[in-house]
């Protein structure tokens, strides 16, 4: 009986004005909550999850677009500038979503497990870091010994050009790395790509001699940003100043700019991924993923298709690398460790391999867990440590707790748990890919 009520309730939510209303209420509630409590993580979660309800409820496509644009272009910028930490979280989500979408092409579509994916990210980042900083003139100097006042090689606005150059360079790197290894069987490929990822990191760490290309472990800084015109800050302040409550500094505007750029890149990536998935190449990838031998028998050029997957995935990461280098103005080999690769992989696995909304959801969940939940837990623990509280039963004083226990640093635990649990209990991810669902569900009306 209760089941039928739930079903009827669900039916109702899927028809008429109800889905529209629910989405609007969700967005409105989230906005209001964040606006009233700018420091509350929970309020922020409500707002962010409204993106998901926008996706989940069956509403008109035009409505989805308008509501999405409103959320992404108006609400989030205003909210984000009010509390810059939110904007940072959203920026990180977008960066990782783009990376996860790129890895999704390699892992989800073509079925090639790439454990060194951040290598391409590093290529993009170091590309702009080299050309967008003084590094060219630092070449003959050992790290730390360069004279001050060196000029920049290129103006900051070359950043936009390098977004495109990074696509080409990263794709070429992908092809270059892919060529020798793509004949390998799946599990060997995984280990070899892991090796390549480490090679890139070791190179970034050690290419400070004989020529100082990467500045070694210290990393490259400062990296230029594109110029921010005066009028952009002024007009933003004029438009949204009353809503925000305080004038926006150019530094905040940069955060906003990079958020919008990341959003733009993601839009392009989603579009490209969608089109690719439905194209001949996408079908070929699916065939390779499902059965390599059969795919060869069908006349699919195996190596060329695998290379295409590598190149496309790599180019997404390359663009995001440029964006990261410019937004951080500093990069070091630390940011491109094996753990990052696994982090991106866990986003793809969590969301659902091969599923675009799933992968974005995965990126959002993992990033929020990482930046907000784990760190919130850390803060909570450190507060407990300073208090006089005692765990009752075992009589353990919180302040005796080792200071080494900092949950924010236990990302590996998080990634590991995600990977194991998803593989055992839900290998297809939170939002399984459409094509797989089509095969699993007998009812042909299940997909439209």
């Amino acid at each position: 009986m209760s089941e039928s009520i739930a079903k009827r309730f669900q039916d109702k939510l899927d028809h008429g004005v109800w889905p529209y209303l629910s989405v609007l209420v969700h967005i409105g509630l989230g906005t209001a909550l964040v606006y009233i409590y700018p420091r509350s993580n929970l309020a922020f979660l409500v707002l962010i999850s409204s993106l998901f309800s926008l996706y989940a409820f069956k509403t008109d496509r035009r409505f989805q677009l308008v509501a999405g644009a409103l959320l992404a272009l108006l609400i989030i910028p205003v909210i984000g500038v009010r509390n810059i930490f939110y904007l940072e979280v959203i920026f990180q989500i977008s960066v990782f979503a783009a990376l996860a979408l790129g890895l999704n092409i390699v892992v989800g579509f073509a079925g090639l497990l790439d454990l060194g994916y951040v290598a391409f990210y590093a290529v993009g980042a170091y590309l702009w870091a080299f050309f967008g900083s003084q590094q060219y003139y630092v070449l003959p100097f050992a790290p730390g010994s360069q004279p001050s006042g060196l000029p920049f090689l290129l103006p900051g606005d070359a950043f936009y050009l390098f977004l495109f150059i990074a696509i080409i360079v990263a794709a070429l790197t992908g092809i270059l790395l892919g060529l020798p290894v793509l004949r390998l069987r799946g599990d060997y490929l995984a280990i070899v790509t892991l090796g390549f990822g480490e090679v890139i990191r070791v190179l970034a760490n050690n290419l400070d001699k004989p020529l100082n290309i990467t500045n070694g472990p210290q990393g490259i800084t400062p990296i230029q940003r594109p110029t921010m015109p005066e009028w952009a800050v002024d007009s933003f302040n004029g438009l949204f100043g009353p809503l925000i409550g305080h004038p926006v500094s150019p530094a905040d505007m940069y955060n906003l700019l990079f958020y919008l750029l990341a959003l733009l890149v993601i839009m392009v990536i989603i579009r490209v991924t969608r089109r690719l998935d439905d194209s001949k190449i996408g079908r070929a990838w699916t065939a390779i993923r499902e059965d390599e031998t059969a795919a060869i028998a069908m006349g699919i050029p195996l190596v060329r298709m695998k290379l295409a997957a590598f190149a496309v995935g790599a180019s997404f990461a390359g663009v995001m690398g440029v964006l990261l280098a410019a937004s951080r103005t500093f990069i070091s080999p630390e940011s491109f460790s094996f753990m990052q690769s696994i982090g991106v992989l866990s986003m793809v696995i969590l969301g659902g391999t091969g599923s675009i909304p799933g992968v974005i959801l995965g990126a959002a969940v993992v990033t929020i867990l990482n930046l907000q939940v784990l760190q919130g837990f850390s803060l909570y623990l450190s507060e407990l440590r300073q208090s006089e509280a005692i765990i009752p039963l075992i009589n353990f004083a919180w302040k005796d707790l080792s200071t080494q226990l900092d949950p924010a640093k236990y990302q590996r635990l998080l990634f590991g748990l995600i990977l194991i649990l998803m593989m055992i209990f839900r290998p297809k991810g939170l939002i399984p890919a459409q094509r797989r669902r089509r095969r699993l569900v007998a009812d042909p009306t299940a997909n439209k």
């Binding site: 090796g195 070791v202 696995i349 080494q404 236990y410 590991g416 593989m423």
Partner: protein, 391 residues
């Protein structure tokens, strides 16, 4: 006594010893020849002059004089790699699955062994121990490390791999990567909660740090002491013991026969009355035991361990297993020795031969390059049979 002796298959005891000797000598000769020829070629170039101006010694002499020490170091690390590689190769042979978490099993073995020794050290009995007792404590640490690592390996298989048996290849691999990451942080968490330190130092006791000197060799103005530390000898002999024992277990006992049968054909083996699940557990247990022992030996040799200590040795041991032909026990020995030697040679001579442009920091890359080259040109490894593509 006689029936007991007759039951022992001496051929299987001696064969791996001969192989180990052969591989060690062979790789020593080949690699030495390569570096000596290289040094002769580079003698007259800028490389030779650079060295001459620094140490006033010719490149050839420098290479030759350093050679014995490099070989000893290479063999030591090579045997450690071989012991870890056996764990990979055993599991791969039976399940065709890369046990990515093996490197953390190794790390857990190392931590348990070192923690026991640290605890003993705190009570003071370690410092006052006689030589014989010192060895007994070391053996205790190794055995405890083995036990912990073996138990962990079996548990990991039961929890994270067994439910995924029969799934597509990449599924258990991803789960294994997850286990590997999880275990790294679990080690960190445990250490953080109990001792508050992640980096543990092996206590010094017994005579393990003593060096047995075998003379000095003059090198230009200076001279180089040639010797082998006691702990290197312990590492090598313990590794040899394990390798011989494993070889015997697999090739000359009933259990070994069952393991080989399961590796060859799982359904048929189960039709023959072999409990496949138990054999697979056993395989993980044996791999874990070897890994744990290798972990303690590694800690003994390199003194300092941290929760991520397993990552690079694990990867290199995997490389060694692939180099030798994964699934092949003899191949893992060969691969481990060759890789250890190659790496030590690279670490010792790369800097000199490139005039300091690329020093020993590139030796980790070296292992990967070998892995990639082997996989491209001889995917079945040095000693493996061509298994073909199994999807």
């Amino acid at each position: 006594m006689r029936p007991l002796l007759a039951a022992i298959n001496f051929r299987e005891l001696l064969r791996p010893l001969g192989q180990l000797l052969l591989f060690s000598i062979g790789s020593t000769l080949v690699l030495s020849a390569i570096v000596l020829v290289l040094s002769l070629c580079l003698e007259q170039t800028a490389v030779g002059q650079h060295l001459h101006s620094r140490l006033s010694v010719s490149l050839y002499t420098y290479t030759l004089v350093n050679l014995p020490q490099v070989v000893i170091d290479g063999l030591t690390i090579g045997f450690v790699y071989a012991a870890i590689a056996l764990g990979y190769t055993m599991v791969y042979g039976v399940l065709e699955f890369i046990n990515f978490a093996h490197s953390e099993i190794f790390a857990v073995g190392a931590f348990v062994g070192v923690e026991i020794l640290i605890a003993l050290d705190k009570t003071g009995i370690l410092r006052s121990a006689s030589l014989g007792m010192a060895y007994a404590y070391l053996i205790l640490a190794i055995v405890m490390g083995m036990a912990a690592a073996g138990a962990l390996a079996v548990a990991v298989e039961r929890i994270a791999y067994r439910p995924l048996r029969g799934a597509p290849r990449l599924v258990p691999l991803i789960s294994a990567i997850g286990v590997s990451f999880l275990l790294q942080d679990v080690i960190r968490l445990t250490e953080g909660l109990t001792t508050g330190q992640f980096n543990r130092i092996m206590p010094t006791f017994g005579n393990f740090d003593r060096r047995l000197n075998m003379g000095r060799i003059a090198l230009g103005d200076t001279s180089i002491a040639l010797g082998i530390s006691v702990k290197s000898i312990i590492v090598i002999s313990a590794a040899v013991l394990m390798l011989v024992g494993l070889n015997y277990l697999v090739n000359a006992t009933r259990i070994g026969k069952a393991i080989r049968a399961v590796a060859q054909d799982r359904p048929t083996a189960s039709l023959m009355g072999i409990n496949v699940n138990r054999i697979i557990s056993l395989t993980f247990l044996v791999g874990g035991l070897l890994g744990g022992a290798a972990g303690v030996l590694y800690a003994l040799k390199f003194t300092r361990i941290d929760p991520f200590v397993g990552f690079f040795p694990g990867l290199k041991a995997f490389t060694a297993a692939v180099l030798g032909g994964i699934g092949n026990l003899t191949g893992a020995l060969l691969g481990g020795i060759v890789l250890g030697m190659l790496e030590t040679f690279a670490g010792a001579y790369l800097g000199v031969f490139t005039m300091g442009a690329a020093g020993s920091e590139y030796k980790d890359i070296f292992a990967f390059s070998i892995l990639i080259l082997v996989l491209i040109f001889r995917p079945q490894g040095l000693m493996g049979n061509n298994v073909g593509q199994k999807a």
